[in-house]
């Protein structure tokens, strides 16, 4: 008795789900459901391009870093981020290959707004303290997101994350050292650090995304959990983050700009003021405070260096 194509697909799907539920890992050449591939492409290309775009806010302070030592450290840090971007885009490139797409398509998707970059990289930086805050608290948040996926069912992504997460730990230490130097410094330095925290706190609360799909209309977290790409929900991650960082932030004498913030012992959870999710919606439409400026600089350097790529014979552009 012949089985239909559709039934064969169902069998494959069931076997696939059994594999990942048993903790097996999927490699780039293995069969995978289209929804799984699409989800990974979206997630990993966004992660990769976010590393590249995420270099920009700190780059804004790199030439101005206060001492030669800090200049060297922040350059090394920004360099790591670009390196992570490269690593992740390679993972994404393998996934888009069956569709006949290349890195060039991802770049074009970034320019057209189809491919987003992480919401935290749309915010303005105003002082050197912001560079410290990004290293410490944004990279700290990234570590939590990445730890949540270290055991991802897709092996090439999990491997890349292991390498990235190890470096992020150094970044968080680098950022914390800047933050501590400022928070323990002169009144002027301390104020600079406190202002940075006041500015960035809402962005940090948005970092992990909305608690539920209802908050903003859509969320991919259910799908990524179903496919064992990630373990915990956005809200779980935010709770881990608060548990880890609230004492540390307060420990260096800074005040968190949310007087409603408290740990509810009965519910065993942090109560905090919701950030403005409408602002979040704007950001994910590339209408955040710095979205267009950062996209513009990326696009400009892409166009400005077109002659170099042509000279190198790169048919598929590798510039972003």
């Amino acid at each position: 008795m012949a089985i239909s194509v559709r039934d064969a697909e169902k069998v494959k799907y069931r076997e696939f789900m059994e594999r990942i539920e048993a903790g097996e890992k999927i490699e780039a050449d293995d069969w995978m459901p289209d929804e799984y591939r699409q989800t990974l492409i979206k997630l990993i290309s966004m992660h990769g391009i976010s590393e590249i775009m995420g270099a920009l806010p700190e780059k804004e302070w790199t030439p101005k870093a206060p001492t030669l030592y800090r200049k060297l450290a922040i350059m090394a840090k920004v360099q790591d981020e670009v390196g992570h971007g490269q690593l992740l885009l390679r993972v994404a490139e393998d996934l888009i290959k069956p569709y006949g797409k290349t890195r060039e398509d991802l770049i074009q998707d970034l320019f057209s707004g189809k491919l987003k970059f992480h919401n935290v990289f749309h915010w303005k930086t105003k002082s050197w303290a912001d560079a410290g805050l990004i290293g410490w608290l944004v990279d700290g948040a990234a570590i939590i997101t990445q730890t949540n996926m270290l055991d991802a069912s897709y092996a090439p992504y999990a491997r890349a994350l292991k390498r990235i997460a190890a470096e992020e730990v150094f970044h968080a230490q680098h950022g914390e050292a800047i933050a501590v130097a400022l928070a323990k410094g002169t009144e002027q330095q301390k104020q600079m650090m406190q202002d940075a925290l006041n500015r960035w706190w809402p962005a940090l609360m948005m970092f992990f995304g909305p608690p539920t799909a209802e908050t903003t209309g859509s969320s991919k977290q259910e799908i990524t959990i179903k496919y064992k790409i990630r373990k915990n929900t956005n809200e779980d991650l935010r709770q881990f983050y608060l548990t880890k960082y609230v004492p540390r932030i307060q420990g260096i004498g800074l005040t968190i700009p949310d007087e409603t913030l408290r740990y509810d012992e009965e519910k065993k959870e942090w109560i905090y003021r919701q950030p403005d999710w409408n602002e979040f919606l704007k950001i994910i439409r590339n209408e955040g405070p710095m979205s267009q400026e950062r996209l513009r600089i990326r696009k400009l350097s892409y166009e400005n260096n077109a002659w170099v790529r042509e000279a190198l014979g790169l048919n598929t552009a590798v510039n972003v």
Partner: protein, 264 residues
């Protein structure tokens, strides 16, 4: 160390330190704007090494009682700087922050290639210096400088050999840089003191070695040799500089200058 010898050592150290500082500052402005991601990572390594070299030279100056490393790197006004003028020049049109930076990759490749080629000659010469801390520094820096030179030489050759627009842009950049590359070779108004003290070989000797390499490379690539290196805009070693340097110093010291007395 007698006073005259020390003055000569200090003079040369400022030249070496300020050159590397400006080269690495211009490199730091390129972060995120270079032609591809792989180059971004590679160029950033070179920039970090180069700033590290500047820090070593300033460190020796600090030991010689000239002041704190960061004061030397950041607080000295433009007219006290000893870097060559071509190294302070902006990377191209626009501004590295969000003011439409249209940086010139050809200019960057050519400037860095010639700079590293001359730097290598100086480093090799410093290995025979009468001043032991410079001998040790040269040995250390050489392990990195040779790779920097290779990196920029590869770009130089590739873009010339590509022909077409790339070759045209490169030729224009060579013409532009050559007019002032003499400033990098220059040992300044106090050359005689530096050379007679045996701290480094003479400008004429270093220049001859640099030009011999360049003639060979230009011939290999079918380029017309541009002749005697120029110093059209003056000698940075004598404190002659452009507005580009003032702007660079203002930017790189913006945060430190808020309060140079405290840790950052």
């Amino acid at each position: 160390m007698n006073r005259e010898y020390k003055e000569a050592v200090v003079e040369l150290l400022y030249q070496l330190a300020d050159d590397d500082l400006l080269v690495s500052y211009r490199g730091s402005e390129w972060l995120g704007l270079v032609p591809h991601i792989e180059e971004d990572v590679a160029y950033s390594s070179i920039t970090q090494n180069t700033m590290g070299h500047a820090a070593i030279y300033y460190g020796i100056l600090e030991e010689l009682g000239e002041g704190k490393v960061d004061d030397l790197a950041q607080l000295r006004p433009a007219n006290e700087r000893k870097n060559a003028i071509i190294l302070e020049e902006k990377n191209g049109q626009g501004h590295w922050l969000y003011e439409e930076p249209r940086y010139d990759w050809a200019f960057t490749v050519v400037r860095n290639y010639f700079y590293e080629a001359i730097k290598k000659k100086k480093i090799d010469s410093l290995k025979q210096s009468t001043y032991e801390p410079l001998v040790q520094t040269a040995i250390k820096i050489d392990t990195e400088a040779r790779y920097h030179l290779m990196h920029w030489q590869t770009w130089f050759e590739q873009l010339i050999r590509a022909g077409g627009e790339a070759e045209e842009r490169m030729k224009a950049a060579i013409e532009k840089v050559w007019k002032d590359i003499g400033g990098v070779l220059s040992l300044g108004p106090n050359e005689e003191k530096i050379v007679s003290a045996g701290i480094i070989e003479s400008e004429a000797v270093l220049k001859e070695r640099f030009l011999a390499d360049m003639k060979e490379k230009f011939a290999e690539l079918g380029l017309e040799f541009p002749g005697e290196p120029g110093m059209e805009r003056g000698d940075g070693r004598a404190g002659v500089h452009t507005e580009d340097l003032e702007e660079a110093i203002a930017t790189l010291s913006e945060v430190y200058a808020l309060d140079p007395a405290v840790p950052w």
